[in-house]
């Protein structure tokens, strides 16, 4: 019995160098960045359309961005709905979920620390909201 106690005392304690939730947080950060890059590519299409319409307002007299968007809605009903409504909504949801997961896994961090981790996702959400607002005017 004494021998066993001695063995127990000398026995190395199991150590976990990496916590599982750290791996999960690292994975969530990589996924969030992947999602933000994907969102950036998809949002570049409506942003380009918006930039083209803005240029058109400069060169065509008596036109406004809103009137050109209304014209686009009439002539290209489904593609404008896809790029100005469906794409922003999908990417708002995707990026919001990514931010929420990082917030949860990092244990309610300070606002600045969270902003450093997910600033691009938040930017994508803001741009998507702007596209939705402009389209709904």
């Amino acid at each position: 019995m004494e021998n066993f106690e001695e063995k127990l005392a000398n026995m190395p304690k199991p150590e976990i160098s990496d916590l599982k939730h750290q791996d999960m947080l690292a994975n969530a950060l990589v996924t969030a960045r992947d999602k933000s890059v994907l969102s950036g590519w998809w949002l570049s299409v409506p942003l380009y359309m918006l930039a083209a319409l803005l240029m058109k307002t400069v060169f065509v007299p008596n036109t406004t961005l809103i009137s050109l968007i209304h014209e686009l809605t009439r002539t290209q009903k489904y593609s404008s709905l896809f790029f100005f409504v469906l794409v922003p909504v999908v990417f708002i949801v995707l990026n919001f979920m990514a931010v929420k997961r990082i917030h949860y896994l990092s244990g309610n961090p300070q606002t600045m620390k969270l902003l450093q981790m997910v600033w691009f996702n938040l930017l994508i959400i803001v741009v998507s909201l702007l596209l939705l607002i402009i389209y709904s005017l």
């Binding site: 890059v37 994907l38 950036g40 590519w41 998809w42 299409v45 380009y48």
Partner: protein
């Protein structure tokens, strides 16, 4: 086929497997085809570029979607 086909580097998804290179090549070939198609009917260089950049962004968006979906190992 074994994933991943792509790995992300900055804002691009780069191929990391043979099938990834095939997809990238197909995208580039399609972009060239689109450029030639637009150029044959356009009235000026700016007309070509304005239409081509739009198509190129759409091709890039679809390519990045494929890259995103195939850049992770499948969960077993």
């Amino acid at each position: 086929m074994k994933l991943p086909w792509f790995k992300r580097a900055g804002i691009f998804f780069l191929p990391s497997a043979f099938i990834g290179w095939i997809i990238l090549l197909a995208g580039l070939v399609y972009a060239v085809y689109v450029f030639r198609s637009i150029d044959s009917t356009s009235h000026s260089a700016s007309d070509t570029l304005i239409n081509f950049v739009f198509r190129l962004l759409v091709i890039g968006a679809v390519y990045s979607l494929i890259g995103f979906l195939t850049s992770r190992k499948m969960r077993t």
